[in-house]
Each structure stands twice: as C-alpha cells, then as structure tokens.
Amino acid sequence: MICKTKMIVSGLVDILFPKRCMVCGLSIGKIEQYSFCPECISRINFIRSPLCISCGIPFADIYGTSHLCGDCIASRPPFTVARALGMYEKTLLDAIHLFKYNGKIALGEILGEMMAQYDYDSLDIRDCSLLVPVPLHTLRLKERGFNQALILARHIANKFSLPLDFTALKRSVDTKPQVNLGRSKRVKNIKGAFDVAHEEKIRGKKILLVDDVYTTGSTVRECTRVLIEKRAKKVSVLTLARA
C-alpha cells in the first residue's frame, strides 16, 4: 500500500515537475538514472583500472595493469587509497561548476548518489567507519552557503548507513582558492590549514575523506596528515572528479 502511494505521489511529481537533465536542461524520460540525459551521461569519463593503486590516476594504456604511478613512487601519499568517480572534464566539469558556483544543491545531491553507487577499484566504502568531508573555512562557507563536499558525503553516508562527522575536521586558515595555483604553490598554500577540533571523534576510525575535486592531491594529503597525526587508524579518499 505504502509502495503504491509512493508510486502515485512520484508519478504526480513527475507530471508537475517533469524530470530534466540537471546539466543541459533537456527533458528526459523516467528510465534515465541520476537525472542526466543519455547524451550527458555518455560524456562522463568514468575512471576504471588500470590506475595508480595509491592516488587512483588512470593510465592511458587500458590493457596494462594497475601499479604505483611515478608521483606516488616519488612521494608516497599518506592516505591508503584515493579514488574518484570520473575525470574532471565535460559533463562532470559543468555539473561541478553548476553545483559549486551556481548553488544547484539538488544537482550536488544527485552527484553524491552517483558516487555512492559506483564500484571503485580496491576501495570498499563499507569498510570505512566514519565519513569526513573536506571542510571549508567558515568565511568561505558563509559566502557560498553550503559545503559541497558535505553534501556529497551526506548522500554516501545515507546510502551505506555510515556515520558522518562535519565538525571534527576544521579549516582554521582561510587559504587562497587552490584553483589558480600550481602544484608547489598549492602544497605551500594548504600547509597547516586544517585542524582536528574533536580528537575523540576520529581516534581509531577508518576514515573516508570526501571532496569534490582531486587535482594535485595537496588538499587531501594535508587533511590526511592531520587526521593520522591525531590518531585516525587509516584514511581513504573519495572524490567526485579527478583532474
């Protein structure tokens, strides 16, 4: 009965507010997953192996095997693994821009759902015991009105019934946006930006750190460093997109 009512309600909602592609605005039928049109879905470059077993960067040679990439051999990242849903280009790039800069929170929720449903190479979200989004500085948060990483993380946490904590990790320094910086500048810029506010919440936890975009990895590396320092058991990283 409840199921029937739900069906009728969702049918009505579909009539009143028909589904449209969240990215390009084209109307779509019921069958499409994730509220994206087939065209836009096909323009998402999902990340598959072979990839770097540590930072998760995909390799061009699709017949090869996964191994450590050059960067990770040079300086092994502090996190166990870092994985991403897709490449930061085309549809995902547009979607993240709409979500972050145009405030389309509803789109962020759908992206979070996509992240939760994807199968990642050697990362099982169920193994984690706590989800932590990469925090924004209070000033940035107040300017934007929401934390994009939190919205993604909340959907993953709901899907796997995992605890989520958005207060433990804090961004204590209002750093410059990483967007327009080079690799070495990024590392310097982010150094010491994070703090753990509630040590007891993360102690001994297997943490899944969630963010929107992995570019050089300097942000998540710094977060991981702080978390491990405060005795998190281990940290894995999951991002929506990867540059």
């Binding site: 909602v13 009539i15 009143l16 507010f17 028909p18 109307s27 800069y101 107040k142 929401f146 919205i151």
Partner: protein
Amino acid sequence: MQQPIIPLLIFLISGLLTGYLIEIPGFIAILLSLASLTGLLFSLVKKRKVYIFSFIILSLFFFGILNINFYLHPKPAGKNISQFTDKEKVTIEGVICKNPEVSPHKIDLVVATKRIINGGIYIPTDEKILLSVRIKDRSFKCGDYIRAKVLLRVPHNFNNPGGFDYKRYLLFRGIRLRGSVNNPTHIVVIRENTGNILKSSLEGYRTKLRKIILEHSSSPESKILQALILGEKREIPGEIRENFNRTGISHVLAISGLHIGIIAFLSFIIIRWIMKTSGYLLLRFNIIKVSALYSIIPIMSYALIAGYSISTIRATIMILCFLIAILIGRERDLLNTLAFAAFLILAFSPVSLFDVSFQLSFIAVAAILIITPALNSLLPKWKMNEISRTMKIVIRIVLFIFVSFSAAIGTAPLIAFYFNRISTMTLLSNLLIIPIIGFIVLPVGLFAAAVLPLSAYLAGILIKISSFFICISNYIIDYLSHFSFSSFTVTNPSILEVFLYYAFIFLSARLIHSRRAKFSIFLAVIALFYVGIFAYINIKAINPGKIQVTFIDVGQGSSTLVRFPGGKNMLIDGGGFYGESFDVGRYVVAPYLWHERIKRVDLIVLTHPHQDHLAGLVFILKNFAVNEVWSNGKESESESYKEFTRVIAERGIPHRIVSSDTPEKIIGGATVRIIHPPKAGPEFDTNNNSVVMKIGYNNIGILLPADIEEPAEKFLMVNGADMKSAILLAPHHGAYTAVTPSFLGMVHPEFIVSSCGKDNFFGYPRQELLNICGKMGVEILRTDENGAVSFTIDGTDIRYSCYVPRESVRE
C-alpha cells in the same frame, strides 16, 4: 513528455472557451463528462497509456464546458427577488461579503442578501447584489450586516461592437442585480462583524493599517501605498493613474506575481542571510530548501493583508508553485510550473480566464520564460566564479532589462486590445521604478505592517520612509510621462493579428535559441500573412463606394458615426449623462471607435450643448486626432462645455459655426448639408436650435435632426426644407413633443432610429410614435433594445445590422 501540464491546460482552456461560446445543455455536458470519466477508468484498469492520456484530456475538456456553463447560465434567480427588479424601491438585508471598493465618488459593496422586506413581510432570499453607495463620509466593512432601501436593477450593457461586457463581468462575480443608494437614511449597518472570526479580525488589522498609512502619509502617496499593501487601488487619483498608464508602469499598482515574487525573493535572501551567520546551520541544513520553506510565511501574510482578492490569490498560487519546485529539488521546468498554476486557478475559478489581470500576468510570465532565455543565448557565456563583482552587477542589470523587455513584448497586444495605449517609456520606467517601488517601498511598507502590533511608532516611521520613496518615483513618472511621445493610442488589433503576433514572437525566440533555419521560413510565412491582413484591413477602411452610418448605443443620449466612401469619417455628438462621473466618451464611444480602428476623426459635430450630446465628445477631442469641429455656436454654462471649448483651443482644432447658410460639403461623393438652424431667424430654445444635418448619397437621404421638437419641425416644413430621407434619427430621442405626424409625412422615412436609454426616465420613445410607425410601415430601431444600429448604403441598396439581433429582442 517535456511539459505534461501544458496539453492538459490547453484542453481545459478549450473546454472553457467552447462552453463560453456555445451553450451546451447541462445534462448533455454531464453525460459526456461521465462517459469520458468511465473511459478513463477503463483505460486505467487496462493500463493503456494512449487511452489514459486521451481520456484525461477529454474529461478536462468537458469539465471545462461544465464549469464555465455553471457561471454563464446560473440557476434562475429566485422568484423572490426578481419580481422586485426595475419596479420600485424595496428594503433588503444582507451581509457585505467582499471588501468594499472605495472610489472617489462612491463605494461599491457586494451584498449577499438574506431577506427582502416588502409591505411588512420578510421574504428570505439568497442573491448577490452590487450596491453602489454615493454618500460622503460613510464607511463599510466586509462582514457588516446592512439594511438598505434600494431600487434593484438588472445590470445593463452599452451594446456596441468592441464594448465592455459589464453584465458578463458581474455575472462572473456571481452578481445578477445591482442597485444604488444616494440617500444617507436609506442604508444602515445593523450589526458588525457577522462574517467569520478570521475575516473580521483580519479586517480589523487592515483598518488599523489603513489608519496608520493615512496618518503618516498624504495623498497621492498614501493612496499608492494603500494599493500596494492593502490592494485598494480605486482611490488613486486619476491624473496619477494616467501618468502610470502613459509610462507603461500601471501594472505596479495592482498586486500581481511581480509583487509576491519580489517578497518571496527578498524573504529568501534575508533568510539565507540569517542562516549564513551560523556555520553550523549551513552545514546541518540545505540552505536553499530552508529559505524557500520559510519564505512561504511572509508570502502568505502578504496575501492575507492584501485582501485575498482573486488576483492576489492567483499570484500567490503561482509563486507557491515555483517555491514547491525548489523544495522538491527538481531541475525546474518553469513553463510547466506556470501551466500548473494556471491549471489550478482555472479549475477552481474558470472565469479567471476572461479576467484581464489573469491574462496579463500569465502572458507576461510566459513571455519572460520563453523570450528571456533566447535573448540570454545572444550573450557570451560567463563562468560565474571567474567574473568580477561589477561585471556581475552589469549582468544583473542586463538580465533585468531582458526580463522587462520580454514582459513588454508579451503583453503588448493585450494592452493594445484592452487599454488602446502603448507606452514608449515602458522599458526605462520599469528599470527605474521597479527597484524603487518593488524593492524599497513595498518591503518597507510591509515591514511596517509586520511591526504595527509591536510599535505603532516604528510602523509610522516606516510608512513615512516608503511614502518618501513613492514621492521620488512619482516625480520620475511625472517627468517621463510629459513627453508627447511617451505613449500613443492604438486601435484594437483583431484576434487573428494577436494570434499571428504571438506565433511570430514564439518562433523568433526559438530561432534565436536553436538557430535552426526552418524557423526562419515559418517566420517569413507569418510575416507575409500579416502583411496580407494588414493590407486587407486598410483597404476595407477606405470603404470604397459605401457610406456607413452607425447610431452608437450611448444609453440616454445620442452619438452617430458616419464613415464616408474614401475613408473619411464624421462623429455627430458623443452621448453623456447628467450629473454622473461615468465618462461615456472614454468608456463607450472611444472603445467603439478603436474597435472600428479609428484614431482620427475628420469632423466632429456638436448639434447642441446639452450634456447627453456633448459630454462624451470631450474625451474624443482629447485623445483622437480631430481635424475640424462644427457647432451652432450656442454656448452653455456647463463644466463639459467649458472643457469642450478649452480642449479645442488648446489643441488648435478649427471650430466652425454652422447654419443653414453653410454651403453644402461633399465628402467622398456624399453630400453633407446643414438645414437648421437658420443664420438669422426666430429665437429657438436650445433643443430647437440643434444643428440638423442631411446626408445624401446616391439619392438616398439620411436625416439627423438631433433634439429638435415641434417648433423647429414646423419651421422647417414651413420653409420647405428638403427633408425627404430613407433613414431618420428620431428627433429628440422620440420624445412627446417631437416627431409630429406631418413631419414624418414630409421626411417619409423607411427606417427610424431612436437613440435612447433603457427604461429611460423620460419614457422615450413614446408609444404613439411606435404606433404611427407601425401604421405607416416604417421600421423602427432602438439603440436601447438593438444596441448599436449600423446602416450601409451600397449603391442604392440599404442594409442595416444591429448589435443585438432583432429576434432576441422580441422575446
């Protein structure tokens, strides 16, 4: 399906229109609806999608027919009340069921009558009546139980092509009778607050608010504030309203989706701003949904304070639909949402479809949703995170101009159709005034309403602030409206033209958006089609080989339009009422002329300076291009006459005094001859001194003797004037002292037209005249029964048409 509500809406609307145009017997409509509902049920069981959809739209279509028929053909009025109409004054008792509409000269009350008292007997009744109270210093509230002594009348229309259907307007509000009270002892409030508690406490609050507005602000600012906050716009002085019209900003004065939308927008921003003060709230909740949810409170409060009029409720429904879309978090298809709002409104209040404000609001929003994105696609694409703050502001302003432009484009044909005026200032004035009135005056005024229970002092200050800004905006509007090119009059577009216009706009928007070549072909076809229609209409206006004489229904009075072969025209008198504020020129004669696509009157003739011939001409002289005025030169002390001469002098229109010495004038092959009054001769009274004209075309005469009576008739006969005419306008509306049998014998008409008001006080045309006409075999046509009567002389053929068909008069 892209926008599933749109086909549903289209079928509902076509049902409403069908039901409006064709009366379908109730039981057939019910039977058909039941049949389609059964079909729907079966197809639902069988789960056949195609059938489900077809039966849904079919059911909606029949539902539309039923729904509108219910309003158009209500169950017959209870015998109780109809037996008292149009006879003598009766005493009624009832409850004022809508907020009184206060205008400068009268208060209109909608009274739900409970009983009639006649000869000491109470007769229960249930009928809505429009009561116009013309008594100074009396006020009424919704919920008052009143007793009034009143002459009940069936509302009457001026039956002219293109005229306003007042009867239908009232019928759609559930009103079938009207009456007026002029004597202070004839109306008394027996009990107050008999409505429900919510309504009366709200009314109490509104009264307080009104008081504080009037205390802290003076007219006209206070009146505009009243319109914006309380929804009472009737008291706005005429010249202010005129300025708003001239600058195309009058939509600001009627609470619409714009106002509710601005309030929703501002509440959204403010709530978001409050939330942004707390990082925890931002992290814990979805800021957009929370802001949207809480914006509902101020919106609903505004709707309540603004007097829950139908147009306010409509605007609220529209905005709520948009907010729900945000709450559900779907990628919003705003056109579908708009269609849903329209669907809801039309399902519950089908008569809204015929409401000007409904049409304007929805067309405006639809135009914004369709045209603005097309215009936007012309701009380069910006990434919002990469542009500077000033650039963001510039983009906002450009967007605002696009929105105003789209709304103006979308509503232009309707504005031309209903108001016959297009403003050239509309973009500029919207750009200047909406920020002031929408984003300062309105929110500050509403804030005053919100703090009133806490501090009357603070509320007073806020009222002062907002009236200061109204003052500024009035100053701007006043400045903008005083250019001669600020606005221009337009004649009524035809339905086909309006349709083509919208098709053109829609396809252009699609073309710009998608840049597909096939749309340009469509556009070219439409443009060609339009040129064809335009040419046809203009050739028709030249009226080759035909002369057309129309006796306009102006109630008790007279106004005649002559359209000569070749396109020239002449207006003889303009109707008018004694001692009434109703402007026949503005509301009856001008709309008829505009409907006939006349903007220029080549010749205006004032036969004699009596109110019922003169008053309506003033508006025509002010608002039409007039080449020449003729009159007999007799003056009058009346206000209308002073205004008449003032406007003629001001606009520099040649004014010619005519008499029977005036040489015959030939216009387009027709002769116009003045046969009365003589230049020098016996002294006549005003009526008998009227200008009498005879128009001749192909040896067929049309005699227009205005208000002459027996003395002038005799004078003309004695002097052997050539009066033989096929068409005769009954002298003095067919009065007792006019149209002597010998005069009739002399004119020997085939048709007599009596221009008179329904059930007029004087009893025109007199029965005796009707009898004589019957005996002589002369056909008599009356503007009170037949509406506008129009004769066309084509060659030697005389044809006539009446606005109200003769068959329907006979019943």
